[in-house]
Structures are given as C-alpha cells and as structure tokens.
C-alpha cells in the first residue's frame, strides 16, 4: 500500500477563551490516500471545520492554537513549516472550498482577478497569462460567457455560480488535496447536485484527493470511498463507505443514520409514517468536558464505564475503526 498523501495524527486544536479552554479538536487522526475521497461527517460544532483549518494552519490565532499532533503532507510535517513555505502550499498543493459562497469571495474584486491572483502567485505567471488561465478555469467550471463573467464582481453572480468560482480558485493550481468544507450546504437543493458533480469531475480530471466535510450522509454515500465520523472534537468511527452504511458500529453513527428522512415508496406506509428518530440532547459545549465518552449523555446504550473513560479506538473489522466500549454488544440496527 502506498503511503497516504496526508496523515493527520493525534491532532489537538484548542481555543483559549476567557471562559476556559475549548477543545475543538481533541486527538483526531485520519489519513487520505492519493486520489481518494474521504468524507468527514458530524454535527455542527463537532470540530470538522477546525480539523480542516488546522491542516492548512488557518486556525484563527489567538484564541486558537494547535497544541499537539502532526500533519504530514507528502512526507513533510506541515506543523513545523516556516510561514513562507506554508503559504507556498496553501491554494497551490492543498486548497480549500468554503461553505458560504456568498461571503467567501472578495466583494470588491472581479472574479477573474480573484482566480488569477492565485495562479499568478503560485505559478509565477505574468498578469495577462494568469488572467487567461482564470478565464480557462471559468470555462472548466462551466460558467458561460467566460470573458464577460471574469470582469464581473461576486454580487453579480448567483450562489451556485459563486461556488463554481470558488472551485475554480481552488483547482486553478491543480492541487494534490482539495478540502471542501460543506460546499453545498448553503446552496439551493437543485444546485447542490450540480456543484457536487462538478467537484467530482474536477477531481477526476486532476487526480486530486478530496476531503469532503459535510453533515449530509446522503452526500457521503454518493461521493466518498471512506468516512470519518466525528463527535465533540474526536473521531468516533472510521470505515469504508460501504462498511459504514452496511454496519455502523458507533451508536452516534446509528443515530445520524436513523435521523435521515426517507421517502417511502409505499403510499400507505408513508400515510402512517413514523416520526424521524432524533438524537436526544445536544452536542456538548466543548468546554470543561466531563471525563468519559463525550457521547455518553446522549447515548441509549451508555453504561457505567462510558462515564469513566473515553473509549480507545478499536479495529472492529479490517479498516473499520470505532471508539465505543459497547460496539460489540450493540443490538442489530433496525432498518426503515
């Protein structure tokens, strides 16, 4: 097996606030193989985005700080890099797409220049050539009338178009890794599929590995080969997409799955449709956490041991990691 292109291990990113230390990411390890699509799943506030920002070393500091861990990219330890060397990687070899296309583009700069800026920076191209490349990228992300669009400002484009521009910026230097942080969450449902397809197409074209952050298991099922499930700053389960959906081993993953609404084919059945199962309670505030499993307060299967210590990561099946004391003794999951 070839070594992974990205290996995060034991990553801890904490925020030092007036009220105490918020452990946004607390000991996360994951890896990404060349050309692979990895799904990173979890509720809002579980530390997915901070994990991604930590990889690029873009955690707002202060108050945030990566206190421990290692991020190896293609054999280089990113956490030890000089700022200039880190900048040469950002937007070039590892690039990122953000959730909010409405606010993630600079409102006072033409979209053409926003793409060209990255190209000019990393490929040392003169302005003209960088702009030509930007226009080429706009065509690749299927924006019509590229020359005119390149001269427009973000407010003249729709949300879907803006996200296409973000993809164009991210892919302009053919990165080795693309991190997409909820790239479709803020978009209309009809546009979401288009943007996902576009991302996958760009990935195929360039052979980039993709880290797709989402809370939408449906998106994961369609796109990712492997999945990492996060809860409250920790990884609770990791498996191939097939294994995860076939046999989720962590109660939290099960909870996520049963809370997805399903369209029933049988009209009769939908008439007496059962309520969606929800996970009771809320994601805990990541401040002054009690010892034990962070999910225990919401978990239907929690036992005494769960409240004493956080469970270690166990390989329950080949390539299927789970951090739960009771993973082996959980009952079979009911399928809708």
């Amino acid at each position: 097996m070839t070594p992974p292109v990205l290996a995060v291990s034991g990553l801890r990113t904490h925020f030092f606030t007036r009220d105490g230390v918020v452990k946004a990411v607390d000991g996360v390890s994951l890896s990404l193989a060349r050309g692979e699509t990895l799904g990173l799943v979890g509720e809002s506030g579980c530390g997915k985005s901070i994990t991604a920002l930590s990889i690029l070393r873009l955690v707002p500091s202060p108050p945030g700080r990566i206190v421990e861990g290692s991020v190896r990219f293609d054999g280089t330890e990113l956490l030890d890099l000089e700022p200039a060397a880190m900048r040469a990687i950002r937007g070039n070899r590892i690039s990122m797409i953000f959730q909010e296309p409405m606010t993630s583009l600079n409102p006072v700069m033409t979209v053409g220049r926003q793409i060209a800026e990255t190209v000019a920076l990393h490929q040392q191209l003169p302005r003209r050539a960088a702009m030509d490349r930007a226009i080429e990228m706009l065509a690749l992300v299927k924006i019509p009338d590229t020359r005119r669009r390149a001269a427009e400002y973000p407010h003249q484009l729709s949300g879907g178009m803006r996200q296409r521009v973000m993809i164009a910026i991210a892919m302009a230097c053919t990165p080795t890794i693309l991190i997409a942080d909820e790239p479709t969450t803020a978009l209309d449902v009809t546009i979401q599929a288009q943007i996902l397809d576009l991302m996958l197409e760009m990935k195929e074209r360039t052979g980039a590995a993709v880290m797709l952050i989402t809370h939408d298991l449906g998106v994961i099922a369609e796109t990712a080969q492997r999945v990492v499930v996060m809860y409250a700053g920790r990884k609770v389960e990791e498996a191939s997409t097939r294994d995860l959906f076939a046999r989720p081993r962590h109660p939290y993953t099960r909870g996520l799955m049963t809370s997805i609404p399903r369209l029933n084919r049988d009209a009769d059945e939908s008439a007496r449709a059962t309520r969606l199962t929800e996970i009771p309670g809320m994601v805990p505030a990541l401040i002054n956490l009690a010892p034990g499993c962070t999910y225990a307060p919401r978990c239907a299967y929690a036992t005494g041991q769960c409240r004493i210590a956080f469970p270690p990561e166990v390989e329950a099946a080949p390539g299927h990691l789970v951090a739960c004391w009771n993973a082996e003794s959980l009952p079979e999951m009911e399928r809708a």
Binding site: P62, A84, G91, F98, N106, P107, V108, E117, M166
Partner: protein, 313 residues
C-alpha cells in the same frame, strides 16, 4: 454616472442658497454695527448714519439681501466695507496659505493614520494597538492651540529647526515654504490623525473577520497583500467618508491654527472680518467654504463607486 453628477451639482445649488440666506440673516440680526466701528469712538450719531447710508445698511434687510444676491449672480462678491477691495481679491490673496495648510494636513494625516490603523487592527490587543489607541485619545483631547504652542517651543525655540510663525509663498522657494508649514500642519493633523486612525482600525477589524479574508489566506497570499489588497480595499468606504467629514472639520481648525502661527490665510481673514462686522467679506468666505464642502462631498461620493462596485447611482 454623468446624470448622477449633473443631478448632484444641481442639488448643491439649493444647499448653497439656503446657507447664503442663513448666513446673511444671522450676520445682520447679530448685534454690532460696522458703521459705528468705521466712524470710531468720537463720531456723532449723524456721522454714523451717514456712513450707514453710504454702505446701504439703512435699507431694509430684504433689499440688502437681493442687492447682494444680484451682484453674486453676476459673479461679483462685492467689496469689503473697510478696505474697499473686492472680496474676491481678498479671498484670492489668502487662498494659498489655507489651501497649503489643508492639503498638507490631509497628506500628513492620511499617510500616517491609515497605516497606523491597519497595523493596530492587524495586531489587535497588542502593545502597538494600545499605543495607537492611546495616541488617538490624546490627539482628540488636547486642543490644537496647546499642541501648537508646545511644538513651537520645542522645534522652533529650543531646537531652532523651524521658524516660529509666518508664511512664505511657494513661489519663494520650496524649503522656506515647507519649513513654515510643517508645524501648523502637524498641529492640525494630530486631531485629524486620531480620527482617521480610529476609523481605519474599526473598519479593518470588521473586514478582517470576514470569510473572504480567510479565503485570501487559504490561497496562500502573504499577510501584507491580504491586509492591503483585500482588507483595506473593503474597509475603504468608511475611511474615505471620515476623511471627507474631516475636511469640513479642518475648515474650523484652520481658523485657530492660523491665529497661533500667524499665517495670513482665510482663517485669519474670517476672524478679522467677523470682529469688524465686514459683512461682504464674511459672506464671501462662507460661500467659498460651503462651495468647497459641497465639492468634497461630491468627490467622496464619486470615490465610493470606484472603491465599491456594489455602489452605483
């Protein structure tokens, strides 16, 4: 755009008219009689009345106003009651020192305050930030004439680097001109810098927390580039607004500073004219000031469209 420009210029006319009427009314209703001042202490009531009649001050206010306004429409600002020189000539003579002082003050303040504000916002909470904010409070609270006298004492009297006061026209050489204008400009600039630095910092803090700044960092851009090309450009609209307002404040500040440094500018002309109730001169100056203010506002509005493509008229 041109339609907007024309509309704005036309809209400025009623503003100037209202200012004119207001100033005229205020001056003439205020106590004080130029005829009595000209006649002197020993004059009899008849002498004063004669002078008043000669100046047309015995006419009803409405008639006086329309006479003046009529002249104005023909481009004539009238003559000074005291020196009999045309007002336009008096203003013209005094324009250079005031213009020099205003432009120099703006130049110094923008050049120093904007970078200070940017750095303070970038390093928010640091000693640089605290220093800039402390300086801003200081600049606001100490009156211009105090700063002026302190600067004179240090740089002109103790160190003897610069002249104490006065003004040398640019035509008589660059250094004599500059050396005379440095202290008054710095004096005026101090309060003004405080204002601009504070606004720049606040606007930059706001922009630096935006998502597109994170995008800029994620592109691998270096910090100076992110700060200037991305953040400052987005923060520019409030900064330009405050600079524009500041120009109006400067007009008031110029009067005091010109007195402290004995600069023969419009400020001094204004003070002298007011003390002597030289109505045509006061009216003329205020007309020039309000015209300048309307112009500055127009320039600021134009700059908005250049700085922010979302603003269109």
């Amino acid at each position: 755009m041109y339609v907007f420009l024309i509309r704005r210029v036309l809209a400025a006319i009623p503003v100037v008219v209202v200012v004119t009427i207001f100033v005229f009314a205020l001056l003439h209703l205020a106590p004080g009689d130029p005829a009595a001042i000209i006649a002197g202490d020993l004059a009899t009531a008849e002498d004063v009345a004669k002078i008043r009649a000669k100046l047309g001050l015995d006419q009803p206010l409405m008639i006086q106003f329309f006479t003046w306004a009529g002249q104005l429409l023909r481009g004539d600002l009238g003559n000074s009651i005291f020196s009999a020189h045309p007002v336009s000539q008096l203003i013209g003579q005094r324009l250079e020192p005031t213009l020099t002082l205003t432009v120099m003050t703006l130049f110094i303040s923008i050049l120093l305050a904007v970078p200070l504000g940017v750095i303070a916002a970038w390093r928010v909470g640091s000693w640089i930030d605290r220093g800039v904010m402390g300086f801003a409070v200081f600049g606001f609270s100490v009156p211009g004439f105090v700063i002026g006298y302190v600067l004179i004492w240090v740089f002109a009297i103790e160190l003897d680097w610069l002249p104490v006061q006065g003004y040398t026209p640019l035509a008589k050489g660059f250094w004599p001109w500059l050396s005379n204008i440095i202290l008054p400009s710095v004096t005026l600039a101090l309060a003004y810098m405080a204002l601009i630095a504070r606004i720049t910092r606040a606007a930059m803090l706001e922009t630096l927390s935006q998502d597109y700044i994170r995008t800029a960092h994620a592109k691998g851009l270096a910090t100076p580039h992110v700060l200037l090309r991305h953040a400052l450009h987005n923060a520019a609209v409030p900064i330009v607004t405050v600079i524009g307002i500041g120009v109006a404040l400067l007009i008031g500040g110029v009067v005091v500073t010109e007195s402290v440094f004995a600069i023969p500018g419009l400020g001094r002309l204004t003070v002298d004219a007011i003390l002597r109730r030289d109505y045509p001169v006061i009216q003329g100056i205020i007309l020039v000031f309000s015209g300048a203010y309307v112009l500055v506002n127009l320039i600021v509005d134009m700059l908005y469209t250049v700085l922010d493509p979302r603003i269109r008229y």
